[in-house]
């Protein structure tokens, strides 16, 4: 069964090609095809998973290319890691596509949207199945292409267009690292295969320095794709894409590809402790760094985006401290609860036509299914037992506690408090309290979907509200924020929410110590089951911090006992710093983008004014010299070359003379010249 696992990736190829070929002519624009492809893929994935559990991993490969004296094979590796990822990817993909049927209803490029989703699903599955670094790299860039296309789905608007290119370029900067890592490893080991590389690294057959360089370089790829500091800046902007896309690509699956990459090449990292330290610190720092920004974000999707960056930081730091299974466990639970939260946000946006939480409030009574599922997702994200996020995060915290990096542990621990705070804040602002959307009606036009406070500090390029972009507006006939009548979303959207909510609530149990952590035993790296000593103190501390975060947010936003304005006033510089995302976009825009463009401008001028000038000067001087040396020469040496040389100065006049001549004449002259040459040789 598992040897046919590649079929899971082929199914979405078929639906992608069908949609690309027939497009709108398909019934329902091809949505059904895409859903079926990933849905059947999901069922197949479960069968594969079962087989891998029962009878172990499967690998197959075929010859691909002979270059020089080496033969390169391409193949799939269906081990526990891949078998765990397959159902996650296919299930979330299926649910997101189902949700999109409602969300994207009436969109101008409905078919293209579903076609691209199928293409993404294919690329992501290919990435998961790849048995070597080269194949993984290829799919790594292809998921980037899918992401680019979907972020830019509404390419007429400047926001999505700019966000799409930013995402592609930023992640490609990371991919440079991945590429260099592959080159270094191949130069040292002569293979791309994960198994062989792991083997050689463990044997010590690869020099230590090379291994460390390669591991850090590979990690660069993960930093880009998994939006880790300092390459995280593309992910918040990627929210310009349709919200279901954010759920699938920018929360559950593609952004986890970086984590997957580190896990896949864990053998290399394992043998390079210095690189592991880099991984741990970057992950830990990203976790807390992104969480601080999420605390002040007022756009519900942006909160979720920074939350995703922060949670990816947890996964990365887990791998960095050697907690292989824990990091991957969090990858899985996060995929479900974050997809749920994004789709929930989508449901809200669908109803409200705004993403500004300050223009929401009180939606609980209007959309109960969305609200309840959102609560479950939020609780899972905060880590309230016994929901899934609690088990996975708790495991990471315990492992970090036992690790050699206390700083990383404390960063992870403090993030728990921040997470609880911003999640509660989002829940309260969106669903609870009094509705602010009636009040927002009057002012909606003037501040165009932007934050109500400090909006002057925002970079103007980032418009947030693209709801006009999805054609749903026209169908329902309600315009901007002012005329909103919030309503529960159709069943095609709420059913995926309910399914994800059930998973977000329960899936953590498979990794919980209560059931003996079957997940950890299955996913163990190198077959060594890792037993972290239980540390109840860690759990109590994290629960306390989570409770404190919830309480504080409740006091500020729910009961409004603590004045939000007073706090902002109190910590104004910090607030502005956070609100502007530490000014990193501005710094990059100035230093990196601006620098590159400045250099491009200088080099272009250099090309024109120096290089080309020298060429023209040489030509001019040659002509002058020849003119001065002997007019005689000019008169005697007739034919093409001379006409051309004269033409350099005489310009059009010379050429007119050439044009009236016949081509054959010049060829004749040319042939005559060669003949003359031959004669000269003969005499010689």
């Amino acid at each position: 069964m598992a040897q046919y696992a590649w079929l899971i990736a082929v199914l979405p190829v078929l639906s992608w090609l069908s949609i690309a070929t027939f497009g709108r002519r398909l019934r329902g624009g091809g949505a059904l095809l895409g859903i079926l492809a990933s849905g059947i893929g999901f069922l197949f994935s479960l069968a594969v998973l079962r087989q891998v559990i029962v009878s172990g991993p499967v690998m197959i490969s075929i010859p691909w290319l002979t270059v020089g004296e080496m033969e390169i094979e391409m193949g799939i590796k269906v081990d526990a890691l891949a078998a765990m990822m397959l159902p996650v990817v296919t299930l979330v993909s299926t649910l997101v596509q189902l949700f999109s049927v409602g969300y994207m209803d009436g969109d101008v490029r409905y078919s293209r949207y579903f076609g691209t989703l199928s293409f993404f699903t294919f690329s992501m599955l290919g990435l998961v199945l790849a048995d070597n670094l080269l194949l993984l790299f290829m799919f790594y860039e292809l998921v980037g292409l899918a992401s680019y296309l979907l972020i830019g789905h509404w390419y007429e608007k400047p926001g999505p267009a700019a966000a799409s290119i930013k995402a592609f370029i930023t992640t490609r900067i990371g991919d440079l690292g991945l590429l260099l890592g592959i080159l270094a490893l191949f130069a040292a080991a002569g293979t791309f295969s994960f198994d062989e590389l792991t083997h050689l690294a463990e044997e010590g057959a690869i020099a230590k320095g090379v291994l460390t360089f390669a591991a850090v370089a590979l990690f660069g790829g993960a930093v880009g794709k998994s939006a880790q500091f300092p390459l995280h800046v593309w992910l918040p902007d990627a929210m310009e894409g349709p919200t279901p896309v954010s759920a699938l690509i920018h929360a559950a699956t593609m952004v986890a590809a970086g984590v997957y990459l580190v896990a896949r090449s864990f053998g290399i990292f394992h043998a390079a402790p210095e690189a592991m330290a880099v991984v741990a610190y970057i992950g830990g720092f990203t976790a807390i760094f992104a969480a601080t920004i999420a605390v002040v974000a007022s756009d519900v999707k942006k909160v979720m985006a920074y939350s995703t960056i922060s949670q990816l930081g947890y996964m990365i730091l887990a791998l960095g401290v050697g907690a292989y299974a824990a990091g991957l466990f969090h990858l899985m639970t996060h995929a479900f609860f974050k997809a749920l939260l994004f789709l929930g946000s989508g449901s809200v946006i669908h109803a409200m036509h705004t993403q500004e939480m300050h223009q929401m409030g009180g939606l609980y009574s209007r959309m109960k299914v969305t609200a309840w599922t959102f609560f479950i997702g939020a609780a899972a994200l905060i880590g309230i037992p016994p929901l899934s996020g609690f088990w996975s995060k708790d495991e990471i915290l315990i492992e970090a506690f036992h690790s050699a990096y206390p700083l990383v542990y404390w960063m992870a621990m403090l993030t728990v408090f921040l997470t609880a705070f911003y999640v509660t804040r989002a829940v309260v602002l969106t669903f609870l309290g009094k509705p602010r959307w009636a009040a927002a009606a009057a002012g909606a036009g003037s501040h165009g979907g932007h934050g109500t406070d400090a909006s002057g500090a925002h970079s103007g390029a980032h418009g947030t509200d693209h709801h006009g972009g999805h054609g749903h507006n026209a169908g329902h006939g309600h315009g901007g924020v002012g005329g909103v009548v919030p309503h529960e979303s159709p069943r095609v959207m709420t059913i995926p929410l309910i399914i994800l909510a059930v998973l977000a609530a329960t899936v953590g149990l498979i990794g919980s110590p209560l059931l003996g952590n079957p997940f950890g035993k299955f996913i163990a790296f190198g077959g060594e089951v890792h037993h972290a000593e239980p540390a109840p103190a860690v759990m109590y501390l994290s629960l306390t911090l989570a409770g404190a975060g919830i309480l504080l947010a409740w006091l500020v936003y729910g009961l409004r006992i603590v004045s939000r304005e007073r706090i902002i006033l109190l910590v104004r510089p910090v607030y502005i710093l956070l609100k502007n995302k530490y000014y990193l976009d501005e710094i990059y825009g100035y230093a990196v983008v601006g620098g590159a463009l400045k250099l491009a401008q200088i080099l272009s001028a250099f090309d024109q004014k120096v290089v080309d000038f020298l060429v023209n000067l040489t030509g001019w001087l040659t002509v002058k010299v020849s003119q001065a040396s002997a007019v005689f020469d000019l008169l005697v040496v007739d034919g093409a070359v001379n006409g051309v040389a004269g033409g350099m100065v005489l310009g059009g006049r010379g050429l007119r003379r050439l044009q009236t001549g016949y081509v054959q004449g010049y060829l004749l002259a040319f042939a005559g010249g060669v003949a003359l040459l031959l004669v000269v040789f003969t005499i010689w």
Partner: protein, 490 residues
């Protein structure tokens, strides 16, 4: 009797040119159809040769050897191997497509197509000639039709561009001619212009090798073009009519890198080893410099022209590394760049025909205005920026992979080009294809069926060479291994 495939491939277009000259001037349609037929025949011939091609040998195949001027040791020697055969495929295909794309030429039709056919004879000759004099002849034959094609059918500054192209490349080939003569006189008895014999014979002193390498390299570097010899290229491209730009970028530039592979490496191996680091430096410099300058271009065609400088830099880096993997990558890049950049120039031409502008700033929203052209342009842009699954990625990857063990620093710096290329290509896509459509372009006709028909084969090949590179790599691998064994690596 053995079919003289190569002579046919070289001279069938010339026959076509002569026939075209015999057709009355006003029968334009006849001339056009004739030109298409006579550029299609080489495609069929090359396809036929492919079925007979021996993938397992490194040696010369389809060899034709006749004595020409025996007293001087000049021979009419044609042959192909894994280094030139990929170029024959590209030349045949691109020339046919360029001929079809010239359908709308309306001025001096007869002269245009006769010159185009003559040009193909020259190019095919360069890639098949195995005698220095023959090679030089064909190398020069290419110049003349190119000069007129740019100078007569070009844009507003066509005269300047044509002359610059002509003089510049002529200068290079004159230096090369001196090299040929010096090589001939210093290679011992019996004197011969036979490339293979001279490469086998060896025995040149290091100092002489060094100077000869340089003489040939200057001739070829101008053609490639390598920084700082590249400034003729943007002018020639911008002024040349679309089909000629396609041939220029798709085929002509490869004559330079082909020459280095065919002549410089096997004939002057010790000089090649000693100059390899300089070559690698020039390669990386061209890659990065070309990319930065491309980024700043306001004219779509100039952007593509400078991207050629950057992409040909990969070829130079690959050649310089002198490893089988890198040289395979370099030849692969010659093919990939021929297909991809050919496509880009075709698309730029199609856009110019419709919008009458090439200024990036004057375009917007072409995804909506010209959906087919825009989607294919996006495809070509991604191919150009080296997206995996497309031919350019394979080429770039193997150049890097093969060069890394030899020139680690060069590669680490060179990979930055990958980001820069993505930058200028996607920025171009953002400014031209994305955004709101402009009302003045409303109602512009999208790509016609016949235009799509000649673009699709290119897309299929780019995909095929990107997904299953063995199709192309198997042709060249044995010959490359042989070449590297001859040079000996660094």
């Amino acid at each position: 009797m053995q079919i003289p495939f190569l002579s046919l491939v070289v001279f069938v277009p010339l026959v076509g040119a002569v026939l075209a000259l015999l057709v009355p001037r006003h029968q334009e349609r006849t001339i056009k159809i004739l030109a298409i037929v006579f550029t299609a025949i080489p495609v069929l011939l090359v396809a036929w040769m492919l079925t007979q091609y021996d993938f397992g040998t490194a040696g010369i195949q389809f060899e034709e050897r006749y004595s020409w001027v025996p007293s001087l040791g000049i021979g009419y020697t044609l042959g192909t191997d894994g280094i030139s055969f990929p170029m024959l495929i590209v030349t045949a295909l691109i020339t046919l497509i360029a001929t079809i794309a010239s359908w709308n030429i309306s001025r001096r039709v007869k002269d245009y197509f006769a010159l185009l056919l003559l040009l193909e004879t020259g190019m095919m000759g360069v890639f098949t000639a195995l005698d220095y004099i023959l090679f030089y002849l064909f190398f020069e034959v290419v110049l003349v039709p190119m000069y007129f094609l740019i100078g007569i059918w070009g844009g507003p500054r066509r005269e300047y561009a044509a002359i610059k192209f002509f003089i510049y490349t002529l200068l290079g080939s004159v230096v090369m001619l001196i090299g040929i003569i010096a090589l001939y006189l210093n290679s011992g008895e019996p004197r011969t212009f036979d490339m293979l014999t001279l490469a086998e014979r060896g025995g040149l002193s290091f100092g002489l090798q060094w100077w000869l390498f340089l003489a040939f390299f200057i001739g070829f570097a101008i053609k490639v073009p390598v920084f700082p010899f590249h400034t003729w290229l943007p002018d020639a491209h911008v002024e040349a009519p679309t089909a000629i730009s396609v041939i220029l970028a798709g085929i002509l530039l490869k004559m330079g890198t082909y020459g280095i592979l065919r002549i410089n490496l096997p004939t002057f191996p010790e000089a090649a080893q000693s100059l390899a680091p300089a070559l690698a430096f020039l390669g990386v410099l061209s890659m990065i410099y070309g990319a930065f300058v491309a980024m700043w271009q306001k004219d779509l065609k100039k952007l593509v022209a400078y991207s050629s400088v950057s992409h040909m830099g990969y070829v130079i880096l690959g050649i310089a590394a002198l490893t089988p993997v890198a040289i395979n990558g370099a030849i692969y890049q010659m093919v990939a760049h021929g297909l991809i950049t050919g496509m880009l120039f075709l698309l730029v031409g199609m856009i110019y025909d419709r919008l009458h502008t090439r200024q990036i700033s004057e375009m917007s929203g072409l995804y909506n205005t010209l959906p087919k052209i825009a989607v294919i342009l996006a495809f070509a842009s991604f191919a150009s920026l080296g997206l995996p699954g497309l031919a350019g990625f394979i080429a770039e990857f193997f150049v890097f992979l093969g060069a890394y063990p030899v020139f680690q620093t060069h590669v680490i710096v060179g990979v930055i080009t990958v980001v820069l290329t993505a930058g200028y290509m996607l920025w171009m896509v953002q400014r031209t294809l994305m955004g709101k459509e402009r009302s003045q372009f409303a109602g512009t006709p999208d790509a016609y069926g016949w235009e799509v028909a000649y673009l699709v084969p290119l897309m299929i090949l780019i995909l095929l060479f990107g997904i299953y590179p063995a199709t192309l790599m198997n042709i060249m691998n044995e010959s490359v291994l042989n070449l590297v064994a001859k040079v000996g690596g660094i």
